[in-house]
């Protein structure tokens, strides 16, 4: 049973991270490989703000979330907008370069040592007993709850709100969307903002659960096969993909070798790429066969 609980928490972590990959990819067809770093910067922002707003942790969290959203918009406006119309790969490489830049900046500003934002906020991370002998950490439970809330929110946003529908239109056919009067740049900026917002949330939660260090980006890198397995432009796919990858990883830790768990997501990914490259729920893109 403990295994099931672990799978659930890891699935929630991966699903939260994947929502960032999916948001950006679905709207602008850019794979954001700096997502892990942006997530980490979000967590470090919380760290700094927790020191700044000592005594009112809720305010610190709220401010960090707002700053994450702004950071996402800034990344698009200052950098990714310039890559519009370039090769898709150039855009992907730009995000990789941005990731490297951010990693350097984070170490310069916040140093590389392990930090605990939860202590700075003055909160404790207890454990929740779900059943006899089955326990997860409080933050773990919170992660699952936040994942459910984020996906619920995104579902409502895409299905029922004006901006969500516009965003779907822009993702489906940018040219037609632009001709219908949808401001594409605004949509793209919003998508980046939302993606970094969920990413920042994830980063803060992860930092609260297991401390904050630059190795956090590895988690994001492992989550990214989940997004691909599910289909890069499908939120439902992201959840299912996260479930598959998290299950593979937890089972690998349990029954094989902890070292294998680091490659398990990529083995799943390779298998998927061989069979169904566009993922379980992704839109079938044009793969011209020759």
């Amino acid at each position: 049973m403990q295994i099931l609980a672990n799978i659930a928490v890891l699935t929630a972590i991966y699903a939260l991270i994947c929502s960032g990959y999916v948001l950006v990819y679905r709207v602008s067809r850019v794979l954001n490989l700096a997502h892990g770093e942006l997530m980490m910067v979000g967590a470090y922002l919380l760290m700094s703000l927790a020191g700044l707003f000592a005594g009112s942790p809720v305010l610190a969290v709220a401010a960090a979330l707002v700053l994450s959203l702004c950071m996402g918009v800034a990344v698009y406006v200052l950098l990714m907008r310039r890559m519009t119309g370039e090769m898709v790969l150039a855009a992907v490489l730009t995000t990789i370069a941005l990731g490297i830049l951010l990693r350097g900046v984070v170490v310069l500003v916040w140093t590389a040592r392990l930090q605990y934002p939860l202590d700075t906020l003055g909160w404790k991370n207890g454990s929740v007993a779900l059943m006899e002998g089955v326990a997860i950490s409080e933050v773990g439970a919170l992660i699952v709850a936040v994942a459910v809330a984020v996906y619920g929110g995104l579902f409502v946003f895409f299905r029922f709100t004006r901006w969500g529908v516009r965003m779907r239109a822009a993702g489906e056919n940018p040219l037609l969307a632009a001709q219908r009067g949808i401001a594409l740049y605004g949509i793209y900026a919003l998508a980046w903002g939302l993606a970094v917002f969920t990413g920042g949330t994830t980063g803060m939660l992860l930092a609260a659960d297991s401390g904050l260090e630059t190795t956090m980006v590895i988690v994001a890198l492992k989550a990214f096969p989940a997004a691909l397995v599910g289909g890069l432009d499908s939120l439902l796919g992201a959840v299912i993909g996260s479930l598959i990858v998290a299950t593979a990883e937890v089972l690998a830790i349990q029954y094989l070798d902890p070292l294998v768990s680091d490659v398990a997501p990529f083995l799943v990914l390779l298998a998927m790429l061989m069979v169904r490259p566009w993922g379980l729920f992704g839109t079938r893109e044009e793969f011209e066969r020759v």
Binding site: A97, R103, L259, D262, V263, M274, V290
Partner: protein, 353 residues
């Protein structure tokens, strides 16, 4: 100063020739002399830098063939370097094999991995291919780590310098000439491939693979060939690097290394062997240049423990600047400067092509 003033090729032979004019012959002779004479003026540190550049050039040219000419992207080249290095390390440790065994064996492993890395390219393109090579990178590196832990070399495998004709290759000077020879061979081999049928087939696949197939290019075969050739060269580079460092550790083959190689190709300028060489030199020397620059500022001591982070940040920044402002890379800059002087006093291109 007779230099080709345009592309006036009158027969196929003229189109295939590598060096077109006496002027170019002259400058190539100057370059060769400078490279041979370099150790006479350089200290051991400069020689070490040159050797590192030479090692990177092999991998960068290999990746350039694959990405710049055949149009197949790869984030897995650190994995291939690791494969070469570990093949060498394992054969040396387990069997005491000599350099004449380990380097060819690395090449063979590289070829096999090239097929493995290349197979996804038959179905996948662009982003998805990038991702599949990324996945393979992690798997190869994992296998290396597994070997290290199983055999108890948790800190890495130590390799003694290779013996060539009974003489151990230890000092940087010997390495300099050995690597210079390897680099010259690699560059000539690549240029030769590119001017022949293979290069044209790759260019056709890069530009439009469906059209290439329609023109009668066996696309699958040439894609796989590109991966195999690139992987063999990269694995050999990995093997040589293992000997040069005298040490193989899985730590060295991070994803960052793969990104560095991609950066060499991008910063140098896609679609040019010269670009690969320039890019390799740029990326290898950048951290040293930064360190040197930091040493000159007054508050250097305070920055000393931050050098690594500064290197990281500036590498990312340089890569972004090139991607955004100079997608043609160093070669693009070089071409513009050259054209400026060629066309002076006119400001517009008068030449064809």
């Amino acid at each position: 100063m007779a230099r080709a003033s345009g592309h006036f090729k009158t027969d196929y032979r003229a189109d295939l020739v590598l060096i077109e004019t006496r002027f170019q012959w002259f400058w190539i002779a100057v370059l060769a002399l400078a490279l041979v004479g370099f150790p006479a003026v350089a200290g051991p540190f400069a020689l070490d830098l040159a050797n590192q550049v030479f090692l990177a050039v092999i991998g960068a040219v290999a990746l350039m063939l694959l990405s710049g000419f055949a149009g197949q992207v790869s984030l897995g080249h650190a994995g291939l370097l690791a494969a070469g290095a570990f093949t060498t390390g394992i054969l040396y440790k387990e069997l005491g094999a000599s350099v004449w065994v380990t380097v060819p064996a690395s090449a063979v492993v590289g070829a096999v991995l090239g097929v493995v890395f290349g197979l996804p390219s038959l179905r996948l393109k662009g982003l998805y291919l990038l991702v599949s090579t990324l996945a393979l990178h992690f798997i190869v590196v994992f296998l290396g780590a597994e070997y290290e832990t199983r055999r108890g070399y948790s800190t890495g495998v130590v390799i003694d310098p290779p013996a060539i004709a009974g003489v151990a290759l230890e000092d940087p000077l010997g390495w300099y000439f050995a690597l210079l020879a390897v680099d010259a061979a690699v560059v000539l081999f690549s240029l030769n491939l590119l001017r022949a049928r293979t290069g044209r087939a790759w260019a056709a696949i890069r530009d439009r693979d469906v059209a290439a197939e329609a023109l009668g290019v066996p696309v699958h075969r040439y894609k796989l060939l590109a991966f195999v050739i690139s992987s063999v060269m990269t694995a050999v580079a990995g093997s040589l690097a293992a000997y040069y460092q005298g040490f193989v550790s899985v730590e060295a083959f991070s994803l960052f290394l793969a990104i560095q190689y991609v950066a060499m190709v991008i910063i140098g300028g896609l679609g040019s062997i010269l670009g690969a060489v320039l890019g390799a030199a740029f990326v290898v020397l950048l951290p040293y240049a930064i360190e040197y620059g930091l040493a000159t500022v007054p508050f250097a001591e305070r920055l000393a423990d931050q050098v690594f982070a500064i290197n990281f940040a500036s590498f990312g920044l340089v890569m972004i600047l090139f991607l955004v402002f100079e997608p043609e890379g160093l070669v693009g800059i070089w071409r513009r400067v050259r054209d400026y002087f060629l066309e002076w006093p006119f400001r517009h291109r008068g030449r064809g092509g």
